[in-house]
Point group: C2
Chain length 185, copies 2
């Protein structure tokens, strides 16, 4: 359907769109072939491990992208409150303002998940730790900071889901705006 044999980056983006929309079990090689413009056999040239390897590569790429777009912005010398706002904006970009989804969450369940579950758990623990540290910078005591970190992350993923459930993914951005308003610091 698109993206006639181009760079690997373009290839990965086409594959990701399918996995993100259909999940691991719902994605077929035929769909991946159509999305990339390649034949099924050609996909095995790029990913000898087949569907599983594609998902694994995409998962690592998504973790890196979420790190870069969102969590990396928790660092720096800006006021904590602004770092948290930048983080939220980065997360919004990562999920295309609510129109897309988080591949890390998508691939965590289904037939694929079990292989990656430990990696994902470790990564989220680290991310929550860094979120909590930022809330501490903003003046919260450790226990409260940890709660705020968990609530913020749950709010992001929750609004991403519920906005889709009610059929209005665009509402995600509106809810993020409200979340930013109520940040401490």
């Amino acid at each position: 359907m698109a993206n006639r044999g181009q760079s690997r980056k373009t290839l990965l983006r086409a594959l990701r769109e399918v996995f993100e929309a259909k999940g691991f079990d719902g994605t077929t090689l035929t769909q991946l072939a159509e999305s990339t413009g390649l034949g099924k056999a050609s996909l095995y040239h790029h990913f000898p491990g087949g569907k599983g390897e594609m998902a694994a590569v995409l998962l690592r790429g998504s973790v890196a992208e979420l790190e870069q777009l969102a969590f990396a912005r928790l660092a720096g010398r800006l006021p904590p409150r602004q770092r948290l706002e930048n983080f939220i904006d980065g997360f919004s970009d990562y999920v295309s303002g609510g129109e897309g989804n988080c591949l890390v969450a998508v691939l965590s369940d289904g037939s694929s998940g079990s292989e990656h579950r430990e990696l994902i758990a470790q990564q989220f623990h680290e991310w929550i730790r860094r979120l909590a540290a930022t809330f501490e910078d903003a003046g919260a005591k450790p226990k409260r900071a940890e709660r705020l970190a968990n609530d913020l992350l749950a709010g992001l993923y929750g609004h991403l889901l519920t906005a889709r459930l009610v059929g209005e993914p665009g509402q995600f951005k509106k809810h993020l705006k409200n979340m930013k308003k109520r940040l401490p610091g």
Copy 2:
């Protein structure tokens, strides 16, 4: 594997466990047969429409159960704050304290979702409306009540997901406790 030919309720519960854990696309008739203790052909006696009909019946059952266990408790003459706490407890029961999942959310994506998306959207709109009404009973102005309703629902689904992502589904209950503490009213 279990539940040798018993009541329809038992049958539905076995089917639900599989769909809840594996999603629609990840669930196979072989798994459903094993879970119920029936042969594949026997499942078609109970559900002539096959896998799709099973999912549709289970979806309606889950909507009814979520209504009964959680949202119904928003009504009554108790103080709004206590109604909201009861609602949260009911939601926790519905998802087995974080160990289970919400089948309505699970079936909303994947190859099954498109058929039920409109029903689900309508149902969630009504539920959010009733949540918002309860927050208004607790003294919140309409716009704030609507925001609190959305935030509460997103918090529930978000914590349900993130607790699983970090590999500690039991943490869900802890987060709910904190959410209850911060309710208005």
